[in-house]
């Protein structure tokens, strides 16, 4: 009896809290993104590059989700962007209540974009709405071009897909055309960005897209 109550509360609270988060983002004209990927695909590197690349154009804050530790939050803090670390203490995904708590730590009126870096996991975060405008999926070249076909849910829910580490294409047998074809089978019109956070290749198109989304969002 206790367990079913907890389970129901968790599910109901997530939907309700996600709607509350979404209202808060809308009230401040904030674009909120939920960044999802396997461990080590380069989510934090993409954040560092994005904050750096949009300096002076967009005010960005970050919520760092991890099972434990504050490694990524310390990396983001170095960029000067406001950042809050959320630890799930074993949990495999962030939920909307965790984000609601974290939002108290920011001056939302002074922000344009808030990016939530989810726990490194290509499966479970797909199921939990955080109130974001878009889920952004990062797929890295060393993971292999078979991942869209193998993890279809998250690719079907993506508002954009970033293929990161394209500087490693020559060192792998990753077939970019196949990966894009498989992504489009699941999500026909999703924007796909080919990026190397290491070399900076392809970042401009991603940053311009983000700025356009933020403007559209603020104008709504």
């Amino acid at each position: 009896m206790t367990e079913i109550k907890i389970l129901k509360n968790i599910l109901a609270a997530n939907e309700g809290q996600a709607a509350l988060n979404r209202e808060r983002f809308a009230r401040h004209g904030l674009l909120a993104l939920n960044l999802i990927a396997s461990p080590g695909a380069g989510k934090t590197s993409l954040l560092e590059r994005t904050i750096d690349g949009l300096a002076g154009r967009c005010r960005i804050a970050v919520i760092e989700g991890d099972i434990t530790g504050d490694h990524d939050a310390r990396r983001i803090a170095k960029t000067g962007a406001p950042v809050v670390q959320v630890n799930t203490e074993g949990g495999c995904h962030l939920n909307a209540a965790m984000i609601g708590e974290a939002l108290r730590e920011f001056a939302l009126a002074e922000l344009d974009i808030i990016i939530i870096e989810n726990v490194g996991n290509l499966v479970c975060p797909a199921e939990f709405d955080l109130g974001e405008a878009f889920k952004i999926v990062v797929l890295s070249v060393p993971e292999g071009d078979d991942k869209p076909a193998k993890y279809p849910l998250i690719f079907s829910e993506a508002g954009a897909v970033v293929i990161n580490k394209v500087d490693m294409l020559a060192a792998t047998d990753f077939d970019l055309a196949k990966a894009e074809r498989d992504i489009r089978k699941i999500n026909p019109h999703v924007p796909i960005f080919q990026i190397s956070c290491r070399s900076g290749q392809g970042l401009d198109a991603w940053l311009d897209w983000l700025v356009r989304q933020q403007k559209d969002h603020a104008a709504e």
Copy 2:
């Protein structure tokens, strides 16, 4: 009411079924391994190399766990090893009942080692016992040397850790000494194998270890 029953049944069934699987493996002197890693770390490549490298020494069968599709099972079938694909249909990990079902498909008396490739996920599979002798964690170099500190549970439960894709060390800033230090903080005596499934580097030590484990297991 329905949900709590389902939840309790799932948890109870997993413990009970894992014990049944373990008994079955023991009865046949079979070494069972539960292979866990992020998507794209190289679990299937390690299986291909292992089956090939132990040809004539050990009879190996494989259970391939994926959310959907039979991509990996088709790869393993090409090696000639017996293989069964288990699809979780959205689930983020294998459970012991799925393995119990899959075991019906094999002639267990004719095998020495059974390797279960779990769903690509560094979090949830850590919590579900499948009846295996060891969990084997594969960490790949492009994922970064921070992963043991960020996903401690799975590294603490590992019976061995394979660091794969060491041929990519020069192309990344992965610090092998740091990764090993962080693994040993969590799991002081765990064997760690540095491997490249691409070049074959380091495979012999891994294969020899496996054969020793299999012999110890069969002798029990």
